[in-house]
Symmetry: C2
DNA sequence: TTCCTTGTTTATAATTATTCTAAAGAAGAT
DNA sequence: ATCTTCTTTAGAATAATTATAAACAAGGAA
């Protein structure tokens, strides 16, 4: 449980002005036990439902990208019509339930270390992600 | 090197009528030594350039999805504004050069077997794909 | 406080990838 | 040749995302 005051400080420390909208979004995204996977639209609807206040869709996009740029959110590479984000910014892998369109964290120990035995000259590895698609 | 006649037969055997457009697309996609990674727009432009004939964008979409449904193309899960397809339909992994927006095949032996040590009740694994993002 | 600067929110328009529609055309069967 | 079914096509529709620009709010200085 993080207090509103802590979010305000975190925002300030990130040179993001602590607006009402951003604080609301912080509380929805980061006051959780478990990691949260969402699309912009999920979040947009959650804000209305949980706070009663509406935040414009543009602001949701702006804020999510601001948090993403600061490293507070991770973008998940799946083929979908919508982009998925994740509050768990550590390196980790995913199940994707194709039917439910839901992401599930896969702990690294459930996948094991992955060694890439090939390299591309002039390039270095930025991330290694496993996506396990699930069907019924 | 596959002849036009062989593409015609392959299309017929797939209950796809061998139209001029589909044959052209087959020749561009499948008359290659190496695996080919592309977006719809890449392909659309290639057809014009290589055959001199234009195929409507709708037909390119239709054909790619028809081939995809028949299992002749694979869809690659990356976060991008465009969907990527692959003429290599076997299970395999990828590098994605973020700067060049280019996919590179990773052979299975360059990654090694991946064992998923977790299961979700009522679901079974459909695919396991590794995406290695590259930066400079 | 008040003023000023800069960052933020917002409604709305623009952009872009993809899908849909419906009419014209081509393929295959009879 | 005729008929049916499938395919192509231009263009419209949809949907996610980004851009625009005016109103607004935060923070700092006076
Ligand atoms: Mn996750
Ligand atoms: Mn490939
Ligand atoms: Zn982002
Ligand atoms: Zn498809």
């Amino acid at each position: 449980m993080t207090s509103k005051q802590e979010f305000i400080e975190k925002l300030r420390n990130s040179s993001l002005r602590p607006t009402k909208q951003r604080i609301n979004i912080c509380e929805i995204l980061f006051n959780r036990d478990k990691t949260f996977h969402f699309t912009i639209n999920d979040l947009f609807n959650l804000i209305k439902d949980k706070t009663g206040e509406k935040v414009s869709l543009a602001t949701v996009y702006n804020t999510v990208h601001a948090f993403h740029k600061k490293g507070y959110l991770k973008e998940i590479p799946i083929n979908s019509n919508q982009t998925y984000f994740d509050t768990n910014v550590t390196d980790h892998h995913h199940f994707f339930d194709v039917k439910e369109e839901k992401l599930i964290d896969l702990k690294n120990e459930h996948v094991g270390p992955i060694e890439i035995q090939k390299s591309i000259p002039g390039k270095k590895i930025k991330s290694v992600e496993v996506l396990v698609k699930l069907e019924d």
